[in-house]
């Protein structure tokens, strides 16, 4: 029997990538099968069987059990507040980049860019360590304020729920703004120098150049960022909120991702309900992504995924 050598090669090449395809299948696709736990009375380590199947029990439980409902509403409120603040201030890295670009002293510009990007590369645990060491009761801030006589006893910045959502935005911005600005800086470099020169010759001030040339030129980039922001509205991740949570702020810091983890880890060990919640979250997230992508296609004529 004769095998077409071309076909043989094409299958052989597939064999080379097969192990990696299997890795993807196991670690990215197979966990989706775990969603069936949301339809069972699953009590680890007992396996699920036909008897444990409970249909939509856990989904209706979310709305029928007043305590759970209140919990989920609280967590949704936190998620919406924290993501909402991020979305509301999403222009910040853009403006940061625009004015950074106005600095004519290149070494200074480079320096600012370098140091403001650094926090992006450290972990949330390190950010928390910094927060703890600088804002803790013996930290730099409290000790300076006490020495100056502004306060008589240390303020517990971290162990309080005051302005918590805004503080979380501040930490997020401290970590990410410099990095996010790089994309805008790259977009600004792409602007035709002649256009700016022409405006200058015509007597435009710097603010006018920024308003009428630079910002309109980088708005498409900003648009994509806003769309991505909306698409990941429910996906705050849990790391930042996990490290910053404590008994004083837990009711306000628990976003969906953290709640799912905390709830599964709590004494109740209710894996099915946690799975149900995160399943709903995943479905809404994918819908949001598809929706924003469609909007992007409609407005810009280009999708971002």
């Amino acid at each position: 029997m004769q095998i077409d050598p071309k076909k043989a090669r094409s299958y052989r090449e597939f064999l080379y990538i097969l192990p990696f395809i299997l890795l993807v299948a196991v670690f990215s696709y197979f966990p989706l099968y775990g969603w069936i736990y949301a339809f069972h009375d699953y009590q680890p380590p007992k396996p699920i069987t036909a008897e444990t199947f409970v249909g939509l029990k856990w989904f209706t439980y979310i709305v029928s059990n007043p305590v759970r409902t209140a919990d989920v509403l609280r967590v949704l409120r936190n998620t919406f507040a924290i993501s909402g603040i991020s979305l509301f201030f999403s222009w910040f890295p853009m403006i940061f980049a625009v004015f950074l670009n106005e600095i004519k002293c290149k070494p200074y510009q480079k320096f600012v860019q370098t140091v403001t990007t650094l926090p992006n590369f450290i972990s949330w645990v390190l950010v928390f360590s910094i927060a703890f060491n600088v804002f803790g009761s013996n930290g730099a801030v409290n000790s300076v304020l006490t020495d100056m006589g502004v306060i008589s006893k240390p303020i517990s910045f971290l162990k309080s729920k005051d302005h918590l959502w805004f503080k979380m935005w501040l930490w997020l911005t401290w970590k990410n703004a410099g990095w996010a600005a790089i994309m805008y800086l790259a977009a600004i470099t792409g602007i035709d120098e002649q256009m700016i020169e022409a405006a200058r010759v015509d007597g435009a001030t710097r603010m006018q150049i920024i308003r009428h040339i630079i910002i309109p030129s980088i708005l498409p980039t900003y648009f994509v960022i806003v769309m991505l922001n909306i698409a990941s509205f429910l996906n705050n991740g849990m790391e930042q909120y996990y490290v910053f949570q404590n008994d004083f702020n837990r009711k306000y810091i628990e976003v969906l991702d953290l709640y799912v983890y905390n709830y599964a880890r709590s004494s109740i060990k209710n894996y099915p309900l946690s799975t149900a919640i995160s399943m709903l979250k995943s479905i809404v997230s994918v819908a949001l992504l598809a929706g924003t992508n469609a909007v992007s296609k409609l407005i810009r004529g280009e999708s971002f995924i």
């Binding site: 071309k6 090449e13 597939f14 080379y16 990538i17 990696f20 395809i21 890795l23 993807v24 196991v26 670690f27 990215s28 966990p31 989706l32 775990g34 969603w35 736990y37 680890p44 950074l100 106005e102 600095i103 004519k104 600012v112 403001t116 990007t117 650094l118 450290i122 972990s123 645990v125 390190l126 928390f128 360590s129 910094i130 703890f132 060491n133 600088v134 013996n138 730099a140 000790s143 790089i182 994309m183 007597g203 001030t205 603010m207 960022i225 991505l228 849990m238 790391e239 996990y242 799912v260 983890y261 894996y271 946690s274 995160s278 399943m279 995943s282 994918v286 992504l289 971002f304 995924i305």
Partner: protein, 309 residues
Amino acid sequence: MSKHNPGGVQLDKSFTDRVISVITYVVYAIFAFVCVFPFYYIFINSISANNLSERGKVILYPIGIHFQNYINVTKIPGLLNAAKISVLRTVVGTALTVIVAGFLGYMFTRQTLWKRKFWYRFVVVTMYFNAGIIPWYLTMDKLGLTNNFWGYIFPTIIQPFYIILCKTFCESVPQELQDAGEIDGAGTLRIFFSIMLPVIKPILATIAIFAAVAQWNSFQDTLLLMTSTDKYNTLQYVLFQYINQANSLKALISSTTSSSNLAATLARAATATSVRMTVTVVVVLPVMMVYPFFQRFFTKGIMIGAVKG
């Protein structure tokens, strides 16, 4: 001043321009300070007299410089092991991620690959969904990857972003190069290892640095997977424990200092604060050290966050 006087307008303009300049310089100086000072603050505290740093007396410059803290932390049970695990996962994880991203990026440019487009999408689309932590944990548990070092490695090998970057890079390499190899009788794998690998080194370097930082910074997988053993705690994880569990940290410290150093003065004996600060420096340091090499990859790296499949 009438609007027909160009000199007057000029003066006004340059004045506001200058005000804007000054404000910009000052505001960015504040931003820079806010980003640099915390690192500096923690560093000077880690080398200052411990009784002063514990009471928040070291703010602008180190006082009573000593390096005993860096010796003390090596005596904390578990810390050296955590450092070993952190380094090991960074090295092994990065190496595998990079070579696999390069290989798959190359393979997905091979027109001859069976159902190439389908498999490419099969891999890339995983960026956009996520089963959630519990199904993921249960999967890992079934595979025996909980409380197991390989739990850090296997799930991180395939990174669709990096594969896309490599594929794009491979596409920019002239096809003639591969054709020449083919004529000389090299097979698919031989072409990759002997011809493409040396050519795509720049993109692999970029990926290596980002993957290494991601591995080093990883915290959540320890939290989720290593539920019943301390053996595989990473530096990130133990640092978090030290910050959150001051009491158990005190117990750890007393067990290290009481026996070892009779001459330890108040300024040098380990305190919860000194340990926290010192470990923080140790954990930040590797990132700081590779940071200068990073910078030229920034613009390429930002693509990793906003790339189109």
